[in-house]
């Protein structure tokens, strides 16, 4: 904790130092105090936008995780399906999500839908990929036993493969929780007037750089808290299952 505090103070000092020494104008680089000021003055507006972004993140993360997990289980069942889907999934990740944002806005309008869709797109891949990895690495001794015991594929999946893969799923979810807000913000940049991304674009256009920084700060803190909450929830869940 002390290290973190020292780090924050050092960064703030350097930040302020650069402004003093280089004489940067506030519209290029606002001082830490100016950002704090902007944060306080616009707190209601920022909170409202943050609420929208948070809702998109939570919904997109939930949907994307469910989609990714379901896809992993389906692929875990069928080698053939894995053979078909894996290259498609990899290919889907080569398309930059930035390029998709305008198209999604075109298709889904200016509301929450395209932002959630962007978040889903960002979230589902790490989740599906990590979970599938875990599903394919069930200890062979347990699989042999299950086969000799006359277990069906569905029960092996439910009682052996999925529980054994939960730590891998958790790894994917923790990673996805950090990336999820990126999807939402990219969506907000492209269209619509709500959310921290939209606020940043709007403020940037009016040279209110201090407000951009304030929104960015709130976004970072929100992401850290969200990722931390997801990690804690997963830790508890895994401990309850004993895996």
């Amino acid at each position: 904790m002390r290290t973190v505090a020292a780090l924050v103070v050092t960064i703030l000092a350097l930040w302020q130092g650069v402004i003093w020494l280089a004489g940067m104008p506030p519209f290029l680089l606002p001082s830490p105090l100016a950002v704090a000021d902007a944060l306080w003055i616009n707190r209601a507006e920022i909170a409202r936008h943050a609420g929208f972004t948070l809702a998109e993140v939570v919904l997109g993360f939930t949907l994307g995780s469910a989609l990714g997990a379901a896809l992993a289980v389906a692929m875990g069942f069928s080698q053939k399906l894995t053979g078909v889907l894996r290259p498609i999934l990899t290919f889907s990740q080569t398309i930059p999500v930035f390029a998709l944002a305008p198209i999604l806005t075109l298709w889904l309008g200016f509301g929450m839908a395209p932002k959630i869709a962007m978040t889903v797109l960002i979230v589902f891949f790490p989740v599906a990929s990590a979970f599938l990895d875990g599903l394919m690495r069930t200890p062979q001794a347990a699989l042999d036993l299950a086969q000799v015991m006359g277990a069906g594929r569905t029960r092996i999946m439910r009682h052996l493969r999925i529980p054994a893969a939960l730590p891998s799923l958790a790894t994917g979810l923790r990673l996805a929780a950090v990336y999820a807000p990126i999807g939402a913000v990219i969506g907000e940049w492209v269209g619509g007037a709500r959310g921290l991304g939209a606020l940043m674009i709007h403020a940037n256009g009016r040279m209110k750089t201090d407000l951009v920084f304030a929104a960015l700060l709130v976004l970072s803190v929100m992401t850290v808290i969200f990722a931390r909450l997801v990690a804690i929830a997963l830790h508890r869940l895994l401990r309850r299952y004993g895996v």
Partner: protein
């Protein structure tokens, strides 16, 4: 008497032959020890009988006339299930946990001359949970029923695996070097326990330990690169027990088997 299982044929790994043509017929009843050094395909033969993936190319015929249970060197315990959960794993995986389990083969659930609640003639309980509790007691883990595998010793893990194998209640039991990773004393204790609890079942024990074969084999088969040889039948084993590890004739048989493996 019909055979419990048989394997006739040969196997390759890639282009290299794994074992020369073998003919192994497993008769009903008694312990058959398949003895041999590592890498000659003992486990492959066992896995063929179990109907498992072997990683080798097999050409020939595998016949199995009765259901099997499997116990291997890796006990394959499920880390998030306690001892009871692991023992009843088969019922869970077949979706029959909670339902009263009916023996799946005629004449099944035979109990040998076992001390305590599993004594011959005593009717084992029918409900899976009660049956599991009795078996856990029989392997000496009554005070460990709610322990997770991580909190058990190597010997206790194999005891759990043995109880799980007994819970399966199959006439043919395949043992794939189940005691190889144990220390000498624990191994001898497990051999005694297995001989007692698996009496009256047909057992195929794959082992690389001549001492183990000398203690447990009613019939000993030696598998080498050159092929499969039937060892002369040793003197009968005491009923429901392993031969004493320190008896002169057991030590002599062990030495002979060792010579056979070196030849």
């Amino acid at each position: 008497m019909t055979a419990a299982a048989s394997v006739r044929g040969r196997a390759w790994v890639g282009e290299a032959p794994l074992f020369a043509p073998v003919e192994l017929v497993l008769e009903l009843g008694g312990w058959t020890c398949l003895l041999g050094p590592s890498g000659v395909g003992k486990s492959t033969i066992l896995r063929l009988i179990a109907g498992l993936e072997t990683g080798a190319r097999f050409e020939g015929e595998v016949v199995r006339n009765c259901p099997v249970a499997l116990m291997a060197q890796d006990p394959g315990l499920i880390p998030w299930l306690d001892v009871t959960g692991n023992v009843t794993l088969g019922a869970r995986l077949r979706g029959s946990l909670g339902a009263s389990s009916v023996s799946k083969y005629p004449g099944g659930r035979r109990s040998g001359p076992i001390e305590g609640p599993l004594r011959r003639g005593a009717k084992p309980p029918a409900a899976p949970a009660a049956r599991a509790a009795h078996l856990i007691e029989a392997v000496g883990l009554a005070d460990r029923t709610h322990h997770l595998p991580a909190n058990l010793s190597g010997g206790q893990r194999q005891r759990t695996a043995l109880a799980r194998t007994l819970f399966e209640d199959r006439p043919l039991v395949l043992l794939d070097e189940p005691f190889s990773a144990l220390d000498a004393r624990t191994r001898a204790q497990m051999q005694d326990l297995a001989a007692r609890l698996l009496d009256d079942r047909t057992v195929l024990l794959v082992t690389h330990d001549p001492a183990e074969a000398a203690r447990l084999g009613d019939r000993i088969l030696l598998l080498r690169e050159t092929g499969l040889n039937e060892w002369p039948r040793p003197d009968p084993r005491p009923k429901g027990a392993a031969r004493p590890y320190d008896a002169p004739e057991v030590l002599a048989l062990q030495a002979e088997l060792m010579r056979g493996m070196m030849a």
